[in-house]
Amino acid sequence: MIGVELQKLVRRPRTWVAVGLLCLLPTIVAVFLATTRISPPPGQGAAFLSAVLQSGSLYPAAALALVLPIFLPVAVAVIAGDSVAGESSQGTLRYLLVRPVRRTSLLVAKLVAVVVFVVGSVLAVAGSSYVVGVSLFGAGDPVAVVRALPEVTGGDDAVAGTGPEAAPAGGQVGGSAAASGGQAQRPGADTGDATAVDPDAARERAQASVSSLSGEALSPADLAARLLGAMGYVTVSMLGVAAIALFLSTITTSSLGATLGALAALITSQVLVSLDAAASVTPYLPTRYWLAWVDFFRDPIFLRDITAGLWLQAGYVVVLMLAAWANFTTKDVTS
């Protein structure tokens, strides 16, 4: 059944349109950067954008930062929201079930297809932006990454106050702003409660800032490994969205409803993450650790948030998929 679902995914024009659009955005940005040579100052704009002028091989990371806040979650919500509800409203669900396809295996196959879509689009974005980046900016010297990032993190304490305001206003719309704002706000939230600061982490961060100023060059292998780690983490981050949309997709017969429901959940989460008053729930919000992939480019790699993000996404996937399974296997298929 997984093979059938993958065939359906691959043979659907919409899939390729989505992947194409995801690759298009970083390309457009790259063309503007390359023609004007005006890069956003470090700490503003999407993470890494300031660094890519020196090193095109960093552009995949910049591209991830561009598509992560809106484009990618929207595409995932569309595909996952349509997965069951679309079959249902189209009438093909009943014909699959009487073939027979067991409801559980259909659900699993749908999830696998969505995961394949996420992996495929992240790979496509990274691949296309690597080609675009290297051809427009040259391979350069990837040390820039280590130099650029600490300036973002180094500004943490300074921008911490603006983070909570910037992010809700930008919400999903100011994607790149949310990226840097969220990034800046996170450590700020930590320092707001001084006793809660993990001293080790603080030291690590300070070290990262310092060492990065005199940063060591990244070997191509090191860069590739960090990129792969970031891509993997971004993929996992999308699984929570996929699980929300898939769960809603088993409830309604309207794929639009499921997609919009998932997006509404994400926007709510984005708003709450940046709201100090909601601090008690922020650690459990699906978008809380979305930007932790940036930590793959710190020196040394900062794993605390990455680990927390992986656990959080796993929790969302398990809980929502169980809910989807419980609902789907017991419901009357009347469409």
């Binding site: 059944m1 093979g3 059938v4 065939q7 359906k8 043979r11 659907r12 024009p13 189209q90 009438g91 093909t92 009943r94 014909y95 699959l96 079930l97 009487v98 073939r99 027979p100 396809v101 067991r102 017991t330 009357d332 298929v333 009347t334």
Partner: protein, 317 residues
Amino acid sequence: MSAPLVIETRGLTKRFGAHVAVDDVDLHVVEGARYGFLGPNGSGKTTMVRMLLGLVYATRGEITVLGRPVPSRVAEVLPEIGAMVEGPAAYPHLSGRANLALLDAAGPRRRSTGRSRRRRVEEVLERVGLGAIDRRPVRAYSLGMRQRLGLAGALLDEPRLLVLDEPTNGLDPHGIREVRDLLIELNERGTTVFLSSHLLAEIEALCTTVGVVDRGRLVLEDDLDAVRGPTGRLVVRTPDPDAAARVLGRAVAERHDHTLVVDAAPGGPPALARHLVENGVPLDGLVEQRRSLEDVVVSLTGPGSDTSRSRRNGARP
């Protein structure tokens, strides 16, 4: 009913909220039958079909299909069933062939080779009269072509039992005839056909057994021949109805122009014919009156749920 039952339900009931869609139905479909499930729109036919296939779960009652309980063991039963439920459905951006190949790959023979899959798809397309279709996507198909494609999907696994919900919807008269011939041919080779329809003529032309459903209740289930049995009256056609009426007196039950409906006397048609001829009444014809399926259905059921007329107004004069 000595042959084994392929479908049996006991006290089957389905509620959607306060609405009772199917109400205490005991269905019996004998192996090898062509069973017509007849009822007006909204009478619960489709819900019934969905319950037989495990798509909708019953509120109460038991279902046995091909000897196994449904829905608990429906996965063992479904590979032997070909089904069309409430109109055809397909992926609109793919061709008919691609749709069938996907459906085949999702089914019980999912591990078969590409070549045998293509052969199977061509076979069923040929059978339903779509052998010559090109690579157009299903989105460009007419309703009749979609209907045929749906039927092709139901035939993929040479099923023992066909469950078809309104299979001739959207077909032209030629197509209806073709589908009917195909179903009869399949039935003669051993496939049991369970067909639901709101079209009396379709059931009458195709089926051997009929179940009539009215507002969720099964009000009649019998062989079609038994349903259309003699009424105990004779129909006399004569060029001189006045003379016939005089001779027959109070035996005449109804009179329309040159036709009289007469209560049967001992001796049956031959005795009546002799009696009339001996009294100088010329005869054009004399047959036993048989009930039509329509009369039976109208007398047993109320108006469809999509009308609000009372039964009396709906009945024929």
